[in-house]
């Protein structure tokens, strides 16, 4: 058995022994993946998993290293890129990923990617042609 295999076994036993907690956070992540286009908040997510919102927040952060809100933003930005590359307009993309305001969507998109949605779309179209 290699050193790495021994370490994997050790870490698995030390960190991932509570299957109930794992099911909760993995289920929450899947729920976000499937409902990123809806209005999501901690109250709703904790209700879905029958747990308190502060407990869910702590668990999610512990196992994924980021809060459910941060993960939702990542997911929305990734989906926005897919919509823009597939030819959706900026406004369509904004609503498709669950944002209500195109201006806040554009601001966030620029913060996260370094370019506006329109610039991103222009660049991806240029690479396609």
């Amino acid at each position: 058995m290699t050193y790495y295999l021994k370490e994997i076994t050790r870490i698995k036993n030390a960190c991932y022994g509570n299957q109930g907690q794992l099911d909760t956070v993995i289920g929450t992540r899947h729920y976000i993946n499937n409902n990123y286009d809806q209005e999501l908040n901690l109250d709703l997510l904790s209700h879905v998993r029958f747990t308190s919102k502060f407990h869910l927040l702590r668990l999610f952060k512990r196992y994924y290293g980021q809060t459910p809100g941060q993960y939702l933003t990542d997911r929305r930005i990734a989906k926005a890129k897919e919509y823009l590359m597939a030819g959706s307009t900026v406004t369509e993309t904004c609503f498709n990923i669950g944002f209500e305001s195109p201006s806040s969507f554009c601001t966030l998109f620029k913060q996260r990617t370094g370019m506006t949605p329109a610039e991103f779309q222009k660049k991806s179209n240029f690479h396609k042609s």
Partner: protein, 131 residues
């Protein structure tokens, strides 16, 4: 600052290019001859062609400590780096079918599933699926 290039040390650049493109499915991005035996050679993920480039760097052949470090990691089974996969089980089946050797078969580790394979150029590489 942006992360544009990360490097992986390889024992043979041509062999590495074949493995990373033909087996893993990456695309060659930049190939600049530097000297008789080395090139600035990068590949990118087919799904993210504007994403971070991987430099297939011949350091182990030119700098002894790099060779020692690479070999020590390899012998301990430690991955040099890792790539994300949408479905680790599927990638494991696909790559095994292409003759790629795995030292760790698909294994659930809490919120991820991992597997580790030999890139035939001196490195273990881990693939990871978020669960």
């Amino acid at each position: 600052m942006k992360v544009q290039v990360v490097s992986i040390p390889v024992l043979d650049q041509e062999k590495a290019l074949q493995f990373y493109t033909e087996k893993l499915g990456f695309l060659k991005k930049v190939d600049v001859p530097l000297s008789e035996h080395s090139r600035w050679l990068t590949v990118v993920s087919k799904e993210d062609q504007d994403g971070t480039e991987i430099l297939l760097e011949p350091a182990p052949n030119h700098f002894e400590p790099a060779k020692v470090y690479q070999k020590a990691l390899f012998d301990a089974g430690i991955p040099y780096t890792q790539f994300n996969a949408a479905d680790v089980e599927q990638e494991y089946e696909r790559l095994s079918g292409l003759g790629v050797e795995f030292s760790v078969k698909p294994t659930a580790m809490g919120t991820v599933k991992i597997a580790v394979f030999n890139d035939t150029c001196g490195n273990n590489i881990q693939i990871v699926e978020m669960l």
